[in-house]
């Protein structure tokens, strides 16, 4: 455990840099803002306790991203209330759209959400993670511990399946 003082300040800096990423990863798995927040908090508390085992501070970000991913998956598998998905992300639509377009957009997004939930776990993981702003194929492969080529092929399969279902 870090000593109070400089180690704690270092941890705080690293945590602030990665907080958004971990939250978005948790949200991608749980689709629920409250659950994502709880998992993010737990992830960083665990990271604080175990930061002594991390030799290189540069590894903090992928390390904590993977930890957040695993905690979120455990929460998703274990908690029944996590099935109460929220629609916070649907409220992020551009304000310039007219109400009719917004309504049809929300309908489309709700349908897409349902289709994403129906994807096999392996495909869903890739398609949700790659949507996160700071994620690229390499980072996703590190988090999921699969080769980059597998990430690409799963991403393509997932998108094709979604496209097929949406246009059906």
């Amino acid at each position: 455990m870090p000593e109070p003082g400089s180690d704690r300040a270092d941890f705080e800096r690293l945590m602030r840099e990665s907080y958004r990423l971990v939250y978005q990863i948790a949200y991608s798995v749980l689709s629920n803002a409250a659950d994502a927040e709880e998992v993010t908090q737990d992830t960083f508390l665990t990271a604080y306790e175990k930061i002594g085992s991390l030799r290189d501070a540069k590894r903090f970000r992928p390390w904590v991203a993977r930890a957040g991913w695993r905690l979120a998956l455990n929460r998703r598998r274990g908690a029944t209330r996590a099935m109460g998905r929220d629609s916070a992300w649907m409220a992020c639509r551009p304000a310039s759209e007219d109400p009719e377009a917004q309504a049809s957009g929300r309908e489309f997004e709700a349908r897409l959400q349902a289709l994403v939930d129906l994807l096999p776990e392996k495909l869903r993981a890739v398609v949700l993670l790659i949507g996160i702003e700071e994620m690229d194929v390499r980072t996703v492969s590190q988090i999921l511990k699969i080769p980059e080529g597998t990430v690409r092929s799963r991403l393509h399969l997932a998108r094709r399946q979604l496209l097929r279902e949406v246009t059906r």
């Binding site: 455990m1 978005q24 992020c92 489309f108 997004e109 393509h156 094709r160 496209l163």
Partner: protein, 150 residues
Amino acid sequence: MTGCAKWTDALADCALGHAAEPALAAHLAVCPGCANALRESRATAALINEALDRRAAVEPPFHGPERVMARVSGRNRADTRAWWKWAAVGSLAPVVLIAIVLWTRRPTLETDVTALSTWHSPTQALLRPPVGAAWNMTPRLGEGFFKMKP
């Protein structure tokens, strides 16, 4: 999507950014249905990508990092309290152990009573008369008094 069933997968791949194979390109040139399906698929794929990006761009609560640090501080305080608690338990343990040992080895009341009942004053022997033993005996018939053994 109203393209030819034979080209469904190839059209989807093409809509998702893969280059059209020569055979598909040749088919698209002569099949308006598939060309239209490809345009629609590209538009839908773009909508899907936008929606997924927007979904992933959900912002965390503003005070999230502060809450983490508050919980870290709380845990540190709890750890400190736990340290003092264990130190106090550690220092009291020998005292309690010694008290238990002394308690189990204390002289019992029964032992004291027994000792008192069997105790004789040293002067008691001096006070006893020399013929004291004869006083406690009954002479038998025909037996000399002073020949008796005590």
